[in-house]
C-alpha cells in the first residue's frame, strides 16, 4: 500500500476544515442577514400602514359598494442598479394597501392591490396568496376600520437575498486566496523533509559523511541527528571490517609463504627422505594456517554483539568444556592443569553466551600451555566476591614485561621471539568477549614473580 503523503494530509485536511467552517459561517451569515432584512421589511410595512391610518383618520373612505382606487406611481425602473436616484430607489417595493370596514368589506385600495380583501381582518402580520402571488400583509385596526399594507413576497425575497449575499460574498471570495496561501505554507513547512529525502537519495552507497541541511526545524533535527549517528556507526563498522580483512590478508602471508616453499621443496626433492621431511613441515604449516583462520573467525564472531537473550552460564562448566577442547595441546606439551575454586561449592554464574565464554577460557588456557615450558603446570582459579566472578589463569612461562601488557591485547601482536607460531589473536578475543559481558581483563605477574597471571572479571549473578 502506498503510504499517505504528509503534505496531502495537511493540505487536504486544512481544505476540508476550512470549507466546512467557512460554509457554515456563510450559511449562518446568509440566514441571519435574510432574517434581519425580513424584519426590516415587516417594520416598514407596519410603518406604512400606520402612516396610512393616520392620513385616513379624518377622511371618508368611500363605501363598500364603490371602493376608491388610488393610483400609486410605480418606482423608476430606469434607475441604474442599486443606485439611489433623485426620484426614488430601485429597492422600493411595490407597496399596496387596502382599507376595510369593520365587517371586512373593501372601502379603498391602491391600484396595485387586488379588488378583493387580502385577508379577513385580524391584527398583525400574515402571508396571503392572491392571484397566484404571495403577499406579505400587515393589518392594523383604526377607528372601526382596518388598514392593510402589503407587499409582494417575491420582491422582498429578492431584495433580502441580495442583502445577505453582500454580507457573505467577501468570505467566499477569499477562499481561493486562502487555499493558495495554505498550499505554499505546507510546502514551506515540509521543505526540510523533502530536502533530506533528496540528499539521502542522491548519495552513493559508500558515502557515509554526516548530513547537513541548509535549514533545520525542531522536528527534523532529531531525525537528522539519529541518521548521522547511524551513519557514524556504520562507518566505524565498515572501517573495522576493512581493517580486519587487510590484517587477515597480511597475517596469512607468512604461513602461506612457508606452505608454498615447503610444497616446492617437496616437489623438487632429490630423495624420498627429503620429500617426506618437506611434506611433514607442510602439514605443520597447514595446521598453523588452519588455526590462524579459526582464530580470525573466532575474533570476528566475538566482535558480533551478544544475543538479545543471554543465559545464566556457570564458569565452572565453562572451564571444564575449555579444558576438554585444549586437551590435545596439553598432552602434546605435557602441561598439567589444576583448577581451584573459592568458595569451593559455588557455580560462579554469569549472564551471557556459553559458547563465547568457553572460547574465552579456551584461549586463556591454550595460551598458558603454549607459551609455558614443556612439563610445567597451569593453575586455573575461579573466585566470586562482592558480586564479581573472576577467572584467573597462572602459567610458568617467560612472563609478559609490564610495558607490553597492554600491547598483547592488540590483534596479531606477538611478543617478538616468543616462538611465534600463535595467531596473535588469543588475548584480543579474550578481551572482546570479556568486554561484551561487561567485564575486564588484566595481566599481572605470575606466582612468586614468575610467569603470567591473566585475570578476567565478570559481573556475577547472585545465587
Amino acid at each position: 500500500m502506498k503510504p499517505r503523503s504528509t503534505r496531502a494530509v495537511l493540505l487536504g485536511g486544512s481544505i476540508v476544515v476550512l470549507l466546512a467552517v467557512l460554509g457554515a459561517a456563510a450559511w449562518i451569515g446568509y440566514e441571519g442577514s435574510s432574517d434581519e432584512a425580513a424584519e426590516l421589511f415587516d417594520a416598514r410595512l407596519a410603518t406604512s400602514a400606520r402612516v396610512l391610518a393616520a392620513l385616513l383618520a379624518a377622511q371618508p373612505a368611500g363605501d363598500a359598494a364603490a371602493p376608491i382606487v388610488i393610483a400609486v406611481p410605480a418606482p423608476l425602473e430606469a434607475q441604474p442598479h442599486d443606485q439611489p436616484g433623485p426620484l426614488g430607489h430601485p429597492y422600493e417595493t411595490k407597496i399596496a394597501f387596502q382599507v376595510l370596514d369593520g365587517d371586512g368589506r373593501l372601502l379603498m385600495r391602491s391600484a396595485a392591490a387586488p379588488p378583493a380583501p387580502y385577508a379577513p381582518p385580524a391584527p398583525g402580520f400574515s402571508t396571503q396568496r392572491h392571484a397566484g402571488r404571495d403577499w406579505r400583509v400587515f393589518s392594523l385596526p383604526s377607528g372601526g376600520r382596518w388598514v392593510q399594507a402589503a407587499e409582494r413576497d417575491d420582491v422582498r425575497g429578492e431584495l433580502s437575498g441580495k442583502l445577505a449575499l453582500a454580507a457573505v460574498a467577501p468570505l467566499i471570495a477569499g477562499i481561493p486566496l486562502v487555499l493558495v496561501l495554505l498550499a505554499l505554507l505546507v510546502r514551506y513547512g515540509l521543505a526540510p523533509l523533502a530536502e533530506l529525502a533528496r540528499r539521502i537519495e542522491r548519495r552513493r552507497a559508500d558515502s557515509l559523511e554526516p548530513i547537513a541541511l541548509p535549514r533545520n526545524t525542531a522536528e527534523i533535527v532529531p531525525v537528522v541527528e539519529a541518521l548521522n549517528g547511524l551513519l557514524e556507526r556504520v562507518q566505524a563498522a565498515m572501517a573495522r571490517e576493512r581493517r580486519f580483512t587487510a590484517d587477515a590478508a597480511h597475517e596469512l602471508r607468512t604461513p602461506l609463504a612457508a606452505l608454498k616453499i615447503h610444497a616446492q621443496n617437496a616437489a623438487r626433492a632429490g630423495s624420498d627422505a627429503e620429500r617426506q621431511a618437506s611434506i611433514a613441515r607442510m602439514l605443520a604449516g597447514l595446521q598453523r594456517s588452519v588455526r590462524l583462520v579459526e582464530q580470525m573467525l573466532a575474533l570476528s564472531r566475538a566482535a558480533a554483539s551478544l544475543t538479545p537473550a543471554p543465559q545464566d552460564v556457570s564458569l565452572r562448566q565453562v572451564v571444564e568444556d575449555a579444558l576438554d577442547d585444549v586437551l590435545p595441546t596439553l598432552k602434546e606439551r605435557s602441561v598439567k592443569v589444576s583448577v581451584a575454586a573459592e568458595p569451593s561449592v559455588a557455580d560462579f554464574v554469569v549472564r551471557g553466551e556459553r559458547d563465547k565464554l568457553t572460547c574465552l577460557a579456551r584461549n586463556l588456557i591454550d595460551n598458558a600451555a603454549r607459551y609455558a615450558p614443556r612439563g610445567s603446570s597451569v593453575r586455573v582459579e575461579l573466585a566470586q566476591r562482592d558480586g564479581v566472578a573472576s577467572l584467573a589463569v597462572w602459567d610458568q612461562g617467560p612472563g609478559i614485561p609490564p610495558e607490553l601488557r597492554e600491547r598483547v591485547f592488540e590483534s596479531y601482536y606477538r611478543i617478538p621471539g616468543s616462538g611465534a607460531d600463535g595467531s596473535g589473536l588469543g588475548l584480543a578475543i579474550v578481551r572482546e568477549i570479556a568486554r561484551q559481558h561487561g567485564g575486564a581483563v588484566r595481566i599481572a605477574e605470575g606466582a612468586a614473580g614468575r610467569g603470567t597471571c591473566v585475570r578476567v572479571t565478570l559481573p556475577g549473578v547472585p545465587g
Binding site: T254, L256, A257, A258, K260, I261, H262, P416, G417, D421
Partner: protein, 220 residues
Amino acid sequence: MRILLVEDDELLGGGIEDALTRARYAVEWVRSGPLALAGLEHGDFDAVVLDLGLPGMDGLEVLRRARAARCNAPVLILSARDTVAQRVAGLDAGADDYLVKPFDVDELLARVRVLQRRARGATSNVLEHGSLRLDLVALSVTCKGQPVVLQRREFMLLQKLLATPGQVLTRAQLEESLYGWNGSVESNALDVHVHNLRKKLYPELIRTVRGVGYVADPPA
C-alpha cells in the same frame, strides 16, 4: 657458498633453509636481530637472506648497522612489507635486492645466484675452468663435455674454489663454507674432498698451498 639466513618464523625459515641447502649452499640460520648483526659483522658470507620483522632489532636497523660497520656481504630482503615506500626504504638501507612474501622458491634461488654473479663480476651462471664447466642452475658439472657426478660437499668446494680463481683460500674459510658453524668437521675431511675432486676431474685443478690452504689457479 655460504649464506646467512635471518628469519624468526620457524616454519618459513625451515623451508628456506631446506631449499638453500638442497641447492648446495651452506646455510647459517639465525632467528633474531642481534644475532643477525653479530653474524654479519663477524662471519664471512657470500649472501644474506634477511627478514625484516625480527625480535630484538628490526631487520632494517640490522642492515644499517652492518653497512655502517663496513660489512659488504650482498643482502636480499625477504619481507611481507610490500608497499613501494617500504621496498625503497629497504633498498636504501643497503639491501641489494628485495623479495616480497609469499615468494617463489625458484625466484629466491635465482636472485641469490644474481647476488653471487654480481659479487664476482660475472654475467653467467656457469663457472668455467679450462674444459671444466660448473652449472649453478642445473647443479651439474661437466669435464671435457662429459658429465661428472660429484657429492654435495665436493660440488660446494669446487664452486667455492672456482668462484675466485687464483685466490688462495685458507682451510678455515673452506671448512666454514662447507660445514658452517654447526657441522662437526673431521680434521682430514677437507683433504678427502680435495683428493676426490682431483681424481674425478684432473689433478692440476687444485693446487695445495702448504700450511695455508688451497687455490684453483686460472687455466693457462
